[in-house]
């Protein structure tokens, strides 16, 4: 850290944050600061206390997947999980209303299934590619490489 750069940027940044907080209280009839702060900090809490441990749990389980499939499976699961998380509010139809059919007009479960299918196909393609490359380079080369890197298995964490 460059101390001088940090001190200048920290003063500027905290100034900008103070402006945001002032606006929050100045406009409290609309922002409801007490309610707002729960949502503002709640996201970090949910991420650190729920989402991150779940992801680490899944990552640990993936540690046992054999080498040629592992990277592809990890990538596919990341993509699938992020897409599902993003579409989830639409899928549940939280914003739907009987007087306005133009809100959330799509069939999101079908859309999500089709998207996950595409991700699954791409994942399988990458896994097959990795398996094929592994076969071509042969077991001997693979073993040599493994001994070179001390057969360091990625624990996934």
């Amino acid at each position: 850290m460059n101390r001088r750069v940090f001190i200048v940027m920290a003063m500027l940044g905290w100034g900008v944050m103070a402006f945001g907080v002032l606006g929050l209280f100045h406009n409290s009839a609309r922002t409801h600061p007490g309610e707002w702060v729960k949502w503002f900090l709640g996201g970090a809490l949910v991420h650190d206390a729920v989402l991150a441990p779940v992801v680490f749990g899944v990552a640990l389980l993936l540690g046992r997947v054999p080498r040629p499939w592992k990277a592809s499976l990890q990538g596919g699961l990341v993509a699938a999980a992020v897409v599902t998380l993003t579409v989830y509010p639409f899928l549940r139809g939280y914003g739907r209303r009987s007087d306005n059919l133009s809100v959330l007009p799509n069939d999101y479960s079908s859309g999500l299934i089709r998207t996950l299918a595409v991700i699954a196909v791409v994942t399988a393609g990458f896994a097959a590619g990795a398996w094929w490359r592994g076969r071509k380079s042969g077991e001997v080369a693979g073993a040599a490489a493994a001994s070179l890197v001390g057969d360091r298995r990625d624990e996934g964490l």
Binding site: M9, R30, G95, L104, G150, R153, D154
Partner: protein
């Protein structure tokens, strides 16, 4: 005597910077996190990407705020007609694409949460405290924005006001973070250029970047069609479709939710032009139809990031102002029949009011307006947010 608490506090702070080694357990231990993805270079790359996307969102969001609540120094022009559609489409699309970037960044840097010692000195303490508004704020902005485009409001605050304050606080925290990491980022990116992958059998650094970029691209591809016409058919995950709604056109606020009834829009309906005018006007729907009609092809560009274009037909606002004898530089407030709601009125600055395409529309695509689209009369003008295209217009107040 009075110095004692200070001394005690100073001792406490020192202890904070030099905690007992026995407290270093679990994830606090060196080497607890083994994935090669907890990597400085990856963190720097994702950080730069997020810095760019958050800046884009902040600037476009601030612009949208200024347009809706213009201070004295800000005049939003009516041209180019599609500029707001573009800037707000970019705001929402960039926000959606930031979701995978942010989650990836949080995963990569997660071990730093358990850094040892937890604080090294005062500057490090300030840096770490600033991470709470940065992480909380980033998640808050993306989550609340995503909920808003699906018209989901699980909280009690007014979304635009809460999102706006959150944006300033998050950007402030981002400035602090850039101050803390700029030197390291530059060093890491220069040092590690073309570096080979660390050993391991899981996802590689490049593979992970590919997955994150691919996911951002996929989400964009499957949602951006809500405003970008060529990808309309691919918008299977978008919260809106430009061709779904009454008369094949989306609606944000229905007549029922605005409490507009047939009584409001029956034969007794009159459009009033009042305020700073020489001749106040009160025009029936037939009077309006008898005036010269003009056609304009303009989008409704919603703050929620969708847009749809239609051909509108009606009376020029400029023509009504001229008939009422309003000054050529007068501003106009357009008021709705809607009894309540923050969007029951909108402002037209002098430039917007005089634009030949700013209409009080009676028809959409050759049909009389559906009541959900603002029958009998709605405002439509170029380069305006959808919430300012006031429906069920009752009054033009000249000032």
């Amino acid at each position: 005597m009075r110095r004692r608490p200070m001394v005690r506090m100073a001792r406490g702070v020192t202890r904070l910077f030099d905690p007992p080694a026995g407290a270093r357990i679990g994830p606090l231990k060196e080497g607890f996190f083994k994935s090669r993805l907890h990597d400085e270079r990856l963190s720097a790359q994702l950080g730069i990407a997020l810095g760019v996307t958050f800046t884009i969102c902040f600037v476009t969001g601030l612009l949208s705020h200024l347009i809706q609540y213009p201070p004295a120094w800000f005049t939003w022009p009516p041209r180019p007609a599609g500029l707001y559609r573009l800037s707000q489409g970019v705001h929402v699309a960039t926000g959606i694409a930031s979701i995978p970037l942010l989650l990836a960044k949080l995963w990569v840097v997660y071990p730093h949460f358990w850094t040892w010692p937890p604080v090294r000195n005062v500057l490090h303490l300030i840096e770490r405290i600033s991470l709470l508004p940065l992480v909380g704020g980033s998640i808050f902005l993306l989550f609340s924005g995503l909920a808003n485009i699906g018209l989901w409001y699980p909280w009690r605050f007014f979304f635009p006001a809460g999102h706006y304050s959150g944006a300033w606080i998050t950007i402030g925290a981002l400035i602090v973070h850039i101050g803390a990491k700029a030197t390291l980022t530059r060093r890491v990116l220069a040092r590690d250029r073309g570096r080979s992958e660390a050993p391991g059998d899981g996802l590689s650094r490049r593979g992970f970047l590919g997955v994150v970029g691919g996911t951002a691209g996929l989400l964009t591809l499957l949602t951006v069609g809500q405003t970008f016409r060529p990808l309309n058919r691919l918008a299977i995950l978008a919260p809106r479709r430009p061709d779904v709604g009454p008369q094949g056109f989306p609606v944000n606020k229905s007549a029922a939710s605005a409490k507009i009834t047939d009584d409001h829009v029956g034969p007794s309906y009159r459009l009033l032009v009042t305020g700073a005018v020489t001749t106040a006007l009160a025009l029936s729907l037939d009077d309006l139809r008898a005036l010269p009609q003009h056609e304009a092809t303009l989008p409704i560009a919603c703050v929620e990031g969708w847009s749809a274009e239609a051909s509108w037909r009606g009376v020029r606002v400029a023509e009504l102002l001229q008939r009422a004898g309003a000054a050529p530089d007068a501003d106009v407030t357009v008021e709705s029949l809607q009894a309540s709601g923050l969007y029951k009125a909108s402002a037209l600055n002098a430039l917007q009011a005089r634009d030949p395409d700013t209409l009080l529309a009676l028809e959409i695509n050759g049909e009389t307006l559906h009541i959900d689209h603002g029958y009998p009369v709605r405002l439509i003008g170029p380069n305006r947010p959808g919430v300012m295209q006031t429906k069920w217009v009752e009054k033009l107040v000249v000032s």
